[in-house]
């Protein structure tokens, strides 16, 4: 025969758990966002000012010196003040109020840049905040070409980038991109306008190889290829800039205006470096 005592215990324990769960579910655990450096006052639900209460943060009792009556006062809040705060009635230990405090800042003006490394297919825009806000931010980007609203398809990763397909080519109408960042403590926005050609910046050359020239130990042969991301090098040929220096010298020598037709440049031996020049972007196009 089964022992009835353990069964009764289980029933009582289950009832306690249910009551406890009900008490908790009756209180919404909302998130309270507060600005870094401000004073934060929390009220213990509908409790009177002079009621005896106990406040906890992340399950640890808070010293009474932080109380003003039944209210909790946090002065000059810092990031470390973030956490789950709860208030219990003094005698019954009934939970009367709970909140998740998140301390942060409103967003500063976001940094936005757009670039086409696969002209004439399209371009991408990426962004970041100049400083962290410590709380969740939502970004909204709009891309306009004259009166037309263009779709910016977001990447799964990285999340701070989206791609736009050129609907028109060779247009002198400017593009206008606006990025708005919003969080619980404020919002900010950046707008940039640019010409189609101004953001064309190809990726670096690929498969750059420098090797000695046989029978001529003082010379190097340098070979390279167009970046594979550049879709139509025949219509939009790239120019390349090469710099090199012998190891014993500090000064770099430059060879400019190389086109892919001259893939075999010969330079005096030393360190050979191919690099992407950074003049006005349009100079990448002939």
């Amino acid at each position: 025969m089964a022992n009835p005592v353990p069964s009764a215990c289980c029933v009582v324990f289950a009832a306690v758990v249910m009551v406890y769960a009900q008490k908790h579910s009756q209180l919404d655990t909302h998130v309270q966002y507060e600005r870094l450096g401000t004073d934060v006052t929390m009220q213990c639900g509908a409790m009177d000012w002079d009621a005896a209460v106990t406040w906890t943060v992340n399950g640890t009792d808070i010293d009474e010196s932080h109380l003003n009556g039944s209210r909790l006062v946090l002065r000059n809040v810092e990031l470390t003040h973030s956490g789950q705060y709860a208030c219990y009635e003094g005698s019954s230990w009934h939970l009367k109020y709970q909140t998740y405090l998140k301390v942060g800042t409103s967003p500063k003006e976001p940094v936005l840049m757009c670039r086409s490394n696969n002209y004439p297919k399209g371009f991408y825009c990426s962004w970041h905040l100049p400083s962290p806000t410590y709380i969740p931010n939502a970004f909204n980007i709009t891309v306009m070409h004259g009166p037309r609203d263009l779709v910016c398809e977001k990447d799964a990763f990285p999340k701070n980038r989206c791609h736009i397909r050129y609907l028109q080519l060779f247009s002198t109408v400017k593009y206008k991109v606006t990025l708005t960042v919003t969080n619980a403590l404020g919002r900010n926005a950046t707008t940039i306008t640019f010409d189609e050609f101004a953001i064309v910046k190809p990726d670096p050359p690929e498969n750059v190889v420098a090797k000695p020239v046989s029978n001529n130990p003082r010379r190097l042969e340098v070979r390279w290829q167009n970046p594979s991301s550049w879709p139509d090098p025949e219509s939009f040929p790239l120019k390349f800039f090469l710099r090199y220096r012998p190891l014993i010298l500090d000064q770099w020598q430059h060879v400019s205006d190389l086109s892919i037709a001259f893939t075999e440049g010969q330079v005096v031996g030393g360190v050979v470096v191919l690099y992407r020049h950074k003049p006005a972007a349009s100079s990448y196009l002939l």
């Binding site: 004439p120 004259g146 397909r165 050129y166 609907l167 028109q168 080519l169 060779f170 247009s171 002198t172 109408v173 400017k174 306008t193 189609e196 050609f197 139509d232 025949e234 219509s235 939009f236 349009s282 100079s283 196009l285 002939l286």
Partner: protein
């Protein structure tokens, strides 16, 4: 690349296309320099809005639009014919009103103007070689240039140079498409639509 099997007409066509592309790239390079000196001399900012300046052929083309070889070359020819007239206007306004003493500047505009005229001529040749008729000259716009303020003249000149710079990039691509199309069809005569 020309192969041994290509006909003399095809070779001629490829040679002419290559010459047109070279000239277009040269114009692009010269117009880029001219634009720099233009904004400097006129005291303009490159970012100024020119949306309200009309009467200048726009180079903009829709992605995915289909054009025949004749339409493609015809559009280029009409544009460069218009730029001949527009550059002539710009030059005259600079000489008469805006920079009367700056002869070096006038010479650089004149140089681009001559190259544009040569390009229009070469495009006419190319159209004829491909068996297409030359489009008729389009009538000039109704606007009277004498009624423009000096500032409007400056803006218009900038718009002309900016659009010309864009056209030269478009033309290289158009010419490459024409070459590709003729290689694909194995003949110099192309009339079918091509995808952008």
């Amino acid at each position: 690349m020309a192969s041994a099997e290509q006909s003399p007409v095809t070779l001629q066509h490829h040679n002419l296309c290559s010459r047109v592309i070279l000239l277009t790239r040269k114009i692009r390079s010269d117009v880029a320099s001219l634009l720099e000196s233009y904004v400097e001399r006129q005291g303009l900012d490159r970012t100024i809005s020119l949306d309200l300046v009309d009467g200048v052929p726009g180079a903009a083309v829709e992605q995915g639009g289909e054009l025949t070889v004749a339409e493609r070359l015809g559009a280029n020819l009409q544009a460069y014919r218009a730029f001949q007239a527009l550059l002539g206007e710009v030059l005259e306004q600079q000489r008469s009103h805006l920079t009367p003493l700056d002869t070096d500047f006038h010479a650089s505009i004149q140089s681009v103007l001559l190259q544009v005229a040569a390009l229009a001529y070469q495009l006419e040749e190319l159209l004829a070689l491909l068996g297409h008729g030359r489009p008729a000259w389009e009538a000039a716009g109704p606007e009277d240039p004498g009624r423009r303020s000096f500032f409007e003249m400056k803006l218009r000149g900038l718009k002309v140079l900016q659009e010309l710079a864009h056209w030269t990039v478009r033309s290289v691509r158009d010419l490459r498409q024409v070459v590709k199309h003729s290689q694909g069809s194995g003949t110099a005569h192309g009339g079918q639509a091509q995808k952008e």
